[in-house]
């Protein structure tokens, strides 16, 4: 995105501070979809999530002059969104920070889903029940070409507990670093990795039936 605007990150911040509408419109175009996806994990409806996205951009207007570049612009943006979305989610009674969909309990939802894939006792304990086969298609481009695969991934993400969903969106879809995720979601590194692993395991499982060669 920065390449297309012919700007580096400090240049982007300066342009926004100076009220450059072309840059603002490009930034809105570029990031609103990502913000919306994350907002949907906090609030009950798309309409409310879109309002949260608007509130986030208003937060950007209000704060851009004070932005100190201690984090990347993207991390700062996600941080504003999570603060606004949390407030909104609590008000809508969807997001309960210490409840069943909240951060701390996501990691303790019982035995890992992976357990079902392995022999539980006897001499083969810990080995695969059904050894995974090679996938076909096995490239992300070809997986995403299939509507069923794409829908399976989207649905798997929607069904994840809130914090697992937030972690996988930030890490795998948005490519935010682990450190930045811990900062955005205010969770520890270990907790982040547990949540990410559980989320990835579930998405892989939901995707598997749509990819040839695997029934696990």
């Amino acid at each position: 995105m920065l390449d297309r605007l012919n700007l580096d990150e400090p240049g982007l911040i300066q342009a926004l501070q100076a009220g450059d509408e072309r840059v603002f419109a490009a930034v809105v175009d570029w990031y609103s979809g990502s913000l919306l996806r994350l907002a949907l994990s906090y609030v009950p409806s798309r309409a409310v999530a879109e309002e949260v996205v608007q509130e986030t951009w208003m937060g950007v207007f209000e704060g851009i002059h004070r932005f100190e570049r201690r984090s990347s612009f993207k991390t700062w943006l996600f941080r504003i969104l999570t603060n606004r979305a949390k407030t909104r989610g609590i008000r809508e009674r969807r997001y309960e920070p210490f409840g069943p969909s909240g951060s701390s309990l996501d990691a303790d939802e019982g035995p890992s889903l992976e357990d079902a894939l392995f022999v539980a006792e006897g001499s083969g304990m810990g080995h695969w029940n059904e050894p995974p086969q090679a996938w076909e298609p096995d490239t992300p481009e070809r997986v995403l070409l299939s509507k069923e695969c794409r829908a399976a991934i989207e649905q798997a993400i929607e069904r994840l507990p809130a914090t697992q969903r937030q972690v996988i969106i930030l890490r795998d879809i948005e490519g935010v670093s682990s450190e930045e995720i811990c900062n955005i979601l205010e969770i520890s590194k270990t907790h982040q990795r547990v949540l990410l692993h559980r989320a990835r395991t579930k998405v892989r499982r939901e995707l598997a039936p749509y990819v040839q060669g695997d029934k696990t």
């Binding site: 419109a25 919306l36 090679a134």
Partner: protein, 105 residues
């Protein structure tokens, strides 16, 4: 088998032997994150070298992650963007009024 080979096998099985497929699968995110300790990494790689099923699983995980990375963003309705640009113009003209309530408060 010479004493040396015997010893080498014992070391190998000590390093790799007690890592099951289940444990290997559970270490995959840590492995991809580069956060395994040296000993874990050696055990993980030794297991992987010997186990085609775990190699397939790791490939499946990598493919899942790569597919996630390429998901297109959520579509945002054009009216949201239009509304934002309107608010941006108002803010530009009069930044002090920018805190006028965003969204439906």
């Amino acid at each position: 088998m010479t004493m040396d080979t015997n010893f080498k096998h014992k070391v190998m099985s000590y390093m790799a032997g007690n890592l099951t497929c289940r444990e290997t699968a559970q270490l995959m995110t840590d492995y991809l994150d580069g956060s395994l300790t040296f000993r874990e990494l050696v055990r993980f790689q030794l297991h992987l070298g010997l186990c085609f099923a775990c190699r397939n699983y790791l490939r499946q995980m990598k493919c899942t992650i790569a597919a996630l990375r390429q998901l297109p963003p959520e579509p945002v309705s054009p009216h949201v963007k239009e509304e934002l640009l309107k608010r941006f113009r108002t803010w530009k003209q009069c930044p002090s009024q920018s805190s006028g309530k965003p969204g439906a408060e």
